[in-house]
Symmetry: C2
Subunit: 393 residues, 2 copies
Amino acid sequence: MQESPIRKLAPYAVAAKKSGKKIYHLNIGQPDILTPPAFMETVTNYSEKVLAYSPSEGIPELIQSIIQYYKGYEIDFEEDEILITNGGSEALQFSIIAIADAGDEILVPEPFYANYNSFCSAVDVNIVPVTCRAEEGFHLPLKSYIEGFITPKTKAIMVSHPGNPTGVVYTKEEVKLLCEIAIEHNLFIISDEVYREFVYDGLEFFSFANVKETEDRVVIIDSISKRFSACGARIGCIASKNKQLIAQILKLCQSRLCAPTLMQIGAIQLYNTQENYFKSVNKEYEKRRDIIYQSLNNIPNVICRKPTGAFYVIAKLPIEDAEDFSIFLLKDFSINNETVMLAPAKGFYSTPGLGNDEVRIAYILKEEDLISAMEILNKGLIQYLNNKNMLPK
Amino acid sequence: MQESPIRKLAPYAVAAKKSGKKIYHLNIGQPDILTPPAFMETVTNYSEKVLAYSPSEGIPELIQSIIQYYKGYEIDFEEDEILITNGGSEALQFSIIAIADAGDEILVPEPFYANYNSFCSAVDVNIVPVTCRAEEGFHLPLKSYIEGFITPKTKAIMVSHPGNPTGVVYTKEEVKLLCEIAIEHNLFIISDEVYREFVYDGLEFFSFANVKETEDRVVIIDSISKRFSACGARIGCIASKNKQLIAQILKLCQSRLCAPTLMQIGAIQLYNTQENYFKSVNKEYEKRRDIIYQSLNNIPNVICRKPTGAFYVIAKLPIEDAEDFSIFLLKDFSINNETVMLAPAKGFYSTPGLGNDEVRIAYILKEEDLISAMEILNKGLIQYLNNKNMLPK
């Protein structure tokens, strides 16, 4: 099993901090947005004297809250179609275990969230990458190209939508395309939609759960982590109209007894959060996205199509080795004793050799910090190219 | 994958409750002991505005608290030898994934905690049961008998010590016996010691981590759930002197990001709980154990050796089908409109046909309820045997 690719740079970050440098972390997805106070208010008011197990499938009130939430997206789930999990992570792990056996294959548009590798390799399931390109904003390739990767061992297509690390939001046509493929080749679709609210430019989000024809093939992965900036609560869910599949995954849930009781109780209140919370958060991220996108496009020879979702973007830089460049920024560069930490993108590809010249940038810092960080990235790149004699004449 | 064997009776319990019967739950391991108030006090005082991810390996202060705790058992762990997990459940699942591949085998003394089946079958690892007998108080069989089950595919021996569902506490000699086997056959030992504090009759608990010769082969599974009656927090840990193994399991921890942040913060305070908390809890359970043990031995033809640990006992009843008897108690029997719910023990055996005449009783109710429950069990058994014409003349 691979080590987390982002953690590889950690020792350089530690050394930089020790030397007194301030680091702008563009490398991680921990948002700075406040958790709605209703969460802690509820937790604080908990008065049971025994912190007991809760039902393996989740606390009924939380499941009801999530059913209501989905109705806002014109998705109808019933209570035996939703399971509460230890974050979106466990939701993914359990879905993979339920759908695929050792040796089976899952198609995943590449680049993809690096932990998909871990969830699959832990149970000897093979990810078959379907490469998407920075030049096309990481939108899906043609149907025939995708179908070329399907074998008798293929059990599912797994996507992050909106996309981590790409920021791509699939169009209605793309969603329907994958559903068509799923029907024709008898596949499941695991759709990781934890960034559902993070869609910009007035685009409408179209969920895989919105396609009636594939409702028994679609498994939705969800979480309160990003939606309500409550990453540390570890509350996610699995939702599917395929009651038989949910009944199988329930057995996995039963084996680990339950998700944290008190965090579920807090989560119930989060789902009562007002609509305007999402609007203001969304506006904030859209502003940050614009800063990053404009800054990147002001740097010569950087390729970056405008991302429309999540809070990540992948930029193709005019260099050979983005990991080497990221280490350079931490180790050998600073402006006013400040530098930036990037996530080299090769960890998000499983095809060897791809992504070496790309970085993922998370826009989870406030405006002024992002502006400073992008200034450092720009100057650092010029310096790096200069050092390598790679600057165009 | 099997359904949780205890859940099979759930519909009968629901029906009994609907009909107005009160049920004494002897079937589940949810203690009624109060969670030390320090937990909620700490959680309530949490003042961070963003509930953020914590380190994948666990919060350093919690790891330090656990290191101190183990010192009380003359066990020395260092900080890179402990990983915080989502309950003991995840600790078990991750240990199994790290140690065994699909098709490998793990020896487990039988009867065993039923979820071991789920953790293994989820990753296609096979449990090889080593049957222990009620007549011997579920102590281990001879060395040569155990060794007879070892094949080239055997990777580990997994035990619950003190034992769920048996209440057996292995002697120092038994612990050393398994360690000897582990060395001679190059095996790991996964020792689930979540009931470490629940040992009675002044017996001293001897941990698998107390054997120096096997320290690189032993993985300790632990949890705050039973120790501090904090089942709903879902905070467990994996501890091993085998740093290489811990480094591998850390990758699994990284893939699911972290255990719940706020519950870890509460757990730190639990580990500061005074010694006298354990003493009073221990005394309470010992009293309950005595009630159950004496009641069972007052029923003719019941076989039950005195259990010395955890809060379970397995009793062999003079009947053919304990599941049928458990359903009878829920469906067709009551005293003053009260009845009991038992856990048929066959779900704790993987050898077909074993345990059909046994039940597991959890002594997690207060004294007066236990006395009433055992009275109902006794009378119910007579009535059941009478109905079946099985009463001895």
